[in-house]
Amino acid sequence: MQNPYIPYPVEVVKIVTEVDTKDIKTFRLAFVNKEDEEKFKYIPGQFAELSIFGKGESPIGIASSPTQPGYVEFTVQKAGVVTSALHEMEVGTRMGLRGPLGNSWPIEFLEGKNVVIVGGGFAFTTLRSLINYMIFGDNRKRFGKITVVYGARNPGLLIYKDELEAWSKRDDIDLNVTVDKGDAAWKGREGFVPTVCKEVGPSPENAVTVICGPPIMIRFTLPVFFELGFSKETIITSLEMRMKCGIGKCGRCNVGSKYVCKDGPVFTFAELDKLTRDF
């Protein structure tokens, strides 16, 4: 029996400081044992427990795409004990990785459909995984039009800046990056995510919206999509809760009868409607 509580040993091979405030970094982790990488087969939208012996574990969404072999990436905000320890780490340090955990973005459901991706702030990590998966090589043909609306409070808080630049040069992805308030150097769009979604106005025809962001953004963006004609079945999000075990045993991350760690984190708004409002 594989013990799901024992993490795979990994090594930090690259660290990117994503934002001006320096409290959000992307960590690239490579498996110490090659065979572990085979066991860690993941799908965009899943998460894993970043495990630091002596400190604890933190559940974080996987920011890389399975189309990027050799490593797994996580974008982490410095907040608590484990993430602070992580932010102190240097390239070459060994730590643990436990997963992949949870369900995933519903890739099969998205296939053949137009996909609208809406992200806010640093909740863009598993959406980045999904975008990189969809636009990789022949994968691109399996999906219709891809529209992305991504916003941050200011230009310095946008993450994955190099990739945003690269995506903006492609003609098979409609990228709309916005900031609440620009600075002197900002040449791009200004405006809140809900407003920009309204302006972009994606058609609900054969389309699915995948949305992740702070609750306040989601609250104001949802009505925009309902107005555009999207149903609750075609708007998908990912929940966060305090977690420990990640496999539905330790009992804290449930919303009603569903455990966010194993039945989620991905739910449609139709599914969330059936659950108790306990999150």
Binding site: A79, M95, I247, D278
Partner: protein, 340 residues
């Protein structure tokens, strides 16, 4: 099924013999409490007990256990080993309600996709000898309301029933049959079985506490936002006694501790009654007051567990009722909700 009759005074000797070949956990009197603990050489169990204060789930899911160890190396802190394998044990004198709790915990810890190796290892290596409640011991017993029975063999490998002069021993599972050799060769006759049936009927009648546990789920689901929850929790002091004594509560925390270069990751019982249980790093808490925590505890047992596993996560042992320092009573709560 093999069935044997044994003289009542032979039981202690039988336990002694089993204890020579396996670790036997049995009820023992410790100061004012009856607790399940490993019998030391020559130690005799306390057999005229009502029920143990602690639930025997502790045996498979200890209050605190080491999940893994690690050590500091030049490369960082690295894994240094998991849990050592469990040894064969016999749990002697488990009450039928507590034996049933193992069946309920199996549903959670031994699922098809995610298996909990720590629990499963200890559980597989243990044989459960249950002792039927010929006279249900407490006014707070309500096992018959939650699919149990004072003479139930659910979760037991061997069930012992006191028939007055002798014990009827029923060997319910192949694991239980391995203990057959200790129980002599007097096979139970039809008269003994008839006697057991009469005892069972009488025992069930002696349970005076009844709650509408099976009917309450849809009413609870419909009343998630009911003002009912606004007041019931008010006297709760969030001590967590109910969840610690509960045979089916399974929530745990995972913590790390390190001394110099060596450390370990532990899991400790946790409780949905505690404010920190769901508090997130951001400060947000999905269950911000005792109101939400009480609702969670009640609904986990009587709505969510039935939904996920088709079983009520309560065995009716009554410990949470008996030992609550402010007299909160889950029976009353379930009963009151059913009237909404």
């Amino acid at each position: 099924m093999e069935k044997r009759l044994i003289k009542k005074d032979a039981l202690t000797g039988i336990i002694g013999k089993i204890a020579q070949e396996a670790v036997v956990f049995a009820p023992v009197k410790v100061e004012d409490n009856v607790l399940f603990k490993a019998l030391e050489k020559g130690e005799e169990p306390f057999l005229t007990y009502a029920n143990s204060k602690n639930a025997p789930k502790n045996h498979f899911f200890p209050r605190s256990e080491v999940m893994l160890r690690y050590t500091r190396t030049a490369k960082g802190v690295e894994f240094a080993g998991g849990q050592k394998e469990a040894e064969a044990t016999v749990l002697f004198g488990v009450r039928p309600c507590d034996a049933r709790s193992f069946v309920l915990l199996d549903l959670l810890f031994d699922q098809e996709k995610y298996k909990d190796p720590y629990y499963i290892d200890k559980r597989q290596k243990a044989t459960i000898v249950a002792l039927a409640c010929v006279h249900p011991p407490y006014a707070t017993c309500f096992c018959t309301s939650v699919d149990g029975h004072p003479l139930s063999a659910d979760g037991a490998d061997v069930l012992l029933t006191d028939l007055g002069e002798e014990f009827l021993a029923e060997f319910v599972t192949p694991k239980g049959e391995k203990l057959l050799k200790y129980f002599g060769d007097v096979k139970a006759d039809a008269a003994a079985e008839a006697k057991k049936e009469a005892v069972a009927e009488q025992a069930a009648k002696e349970i005076k506490s009844h709650i509408p546990a099976r009917e309450v789920k849809p009413i609870m689901d419909a009343n998630f936002d009911s003002p009912f929850w606004n007041t019931i929790h008010q006297k709760c002091i969030a001590c967590g006694t109910c969840t610690y004594l509960c045979p089916t509560c399974h929530c745990f925390d995972i913590t790390d501790e390190m001394k110099r270069d060596d450390g370990r990751r532990l899991r400790n019982w946790d409780s949905c009654m505690y404010p920190m249980f769901t508090k997130e790093t951001s400060g947000h808490n999905p269950r911000p007051t005792q109101r939400e925590r009480w609702r969670q505890r009640a609904m986990h047992k009587f709505s969510y567990y039935p939904e996920n596993f088709n079983a009520i996560a309560c065995v009716g042992c009554g410990r949470c009722v008996m030992y609550c320092p402010v007299n909160l009573d889950i029976r009353k709560i379930v009963t009151d909700i059913s009237k909404l």
